[in-house]
Symmetry: C2
Subunit: 238 residues, 2 copies
């Protein structure tokens, strides 16, 4: 197919395809003559993955290039997913980046180093205990392990300590959610397509999961209200 067809099939504009070519993200097509280049299905798959990594995953071009090079190796599906999964942007507490908006300075907000470090160390131990307790197999190189410790440390510094036992029910629900996620990957054989789906699932489907929690919280508020009203004898006589 010509570049215009490649653009239509992948949903990526011609100018952007040329940019990805220049950046070495997309291999060249087959030159039919000095002015015409032919592309194939592999280019369509590859472009979809590039788009997912950069536009949805928010990866810088250099990082996306690393992932693409890794995915090109003769990996199995397991390794392909592991590479992509660890390359994705890591969810973090929303405090950073928001600071200064209201004139507050972050360094003033943080309790002194010793207390902060103790909170971080305790949080790391709680994450390890949680992983062990759940029987989860998590690579030492996982970026999500220290990120979870940091989120727990932030909560500790703000006065809310979550113990391993507090987190286990949430971790069990996360396991069920991950099982639903992986059910969506069944039957995808092509590794490039699998990698693209994994990015969509982890990144693009994430707001859906977050919004479902918010909606469920609103309903839970109704249910709590009903329960409390009934408990105080203000209910409908049930």
């Amino acid at each position: 197919m010509r570049i215009s067809e490649l653009s239509r099939r992948s949903g990526v504009p011609v100018a952007t395809i040329k940019y990805y070519r220049r950046e070495g993200l997309l291999p060249g097509g087959r030159a039919l003559n000095p002015t015409t280049v032919e592309y194939d299905e592999e280019h369509v798959q590859r472009l979809r993955l590039i788009r997912s990594l950069i536009q949805l995953g928010g990866l810088p071009v250099a990082r996306a290039r690393e992932v693409l090079e890794a995915v090109e190796q003769p990996l199995d599906a397991f390794e392909t997913l592991a590479v992509v999964h660890h390359a994705l942007p890591v969810p973090a507490a929303e405090t950073s980046g928001k600071d200064g908006k209201d004139g507050a300075r972050r360094d003033e907000e943080e309790p002194g180093g010793a207390a902060g470090e103790a909170a971080s160390a305790g949080a790391g131990a709680r994450v390890e205990a949680l992983i062990e307790n759940m029987g989860w197999r998590i690579s030492d190189a996982s970026p999500h392990r220290p990120a979870l410790a940091e989120s727990l440390a932030v909560l500790s510094r703000l006065g809310t300590d979550y113990t391993t036992d507090d987190l286990i029910p949430y971790a069990r629900l996360a396991t069920s959610t991950a099982d639903l996620d992986f059910a969506q990957l069944e039957g995808i054989e092509d590794h490039i397509a699998l990698a693209e789906r994994a990015v969509v699932l982890s990144v693009l489907f994430e707001p859906v999961v977050r919004l479902l929690r918010r909606l469920a919280q609103e309903d839970a508020n109704h249910r709590r209200h009903d329960r409390n009203a009934c408990g105080r004898g203000e209910g409908t006589g049930e």
Copy 2:
């Protein structure tokens, strides 16, 4: 207590307390004499809520002021939580804001108006069907309802349609997660404290939930790998 003690108790620096005072977010204390002002427990609670809304929730000062005014009304706990919940920043697909980084222009990426509008309308209907199916009570004014429709529309435009039936298992897990969330609010009587906890739960605890899903995905990848290896007779003979 004096302002220095108020700062220590709330974890908010003196300069920031004075800024919140000037912006009308924090009521004045009792003037003991022309240079000394006395603050009380209510100021501590109120400061914690202000900090949560602005620094954790990322709300602009004007929006935080509206929430504080609403929470000051003689509301019950249900109404207090509803006001805070709808004021929080809404999770959104991460595509917006990321555009242009790689030289692509967003307007080129979007399929033409008609297709986009059809995807949005279909997504809205799927959200309504989901809410009805789950028996969730969601206010017409909920910002999470259109946000979920928008997230689903983005997925549709990228070639992945989630039906109501696809979403129901995720919604069930969201209900269980919301029940865990609300268990954390039990026993908090003071409405300002309740509002503060609700912000922490919805906003600051959110990265924890997201990271648990990522960790569980890594483990699910291991489990899928084991299963497939055994299925192909490459397993350990089990």
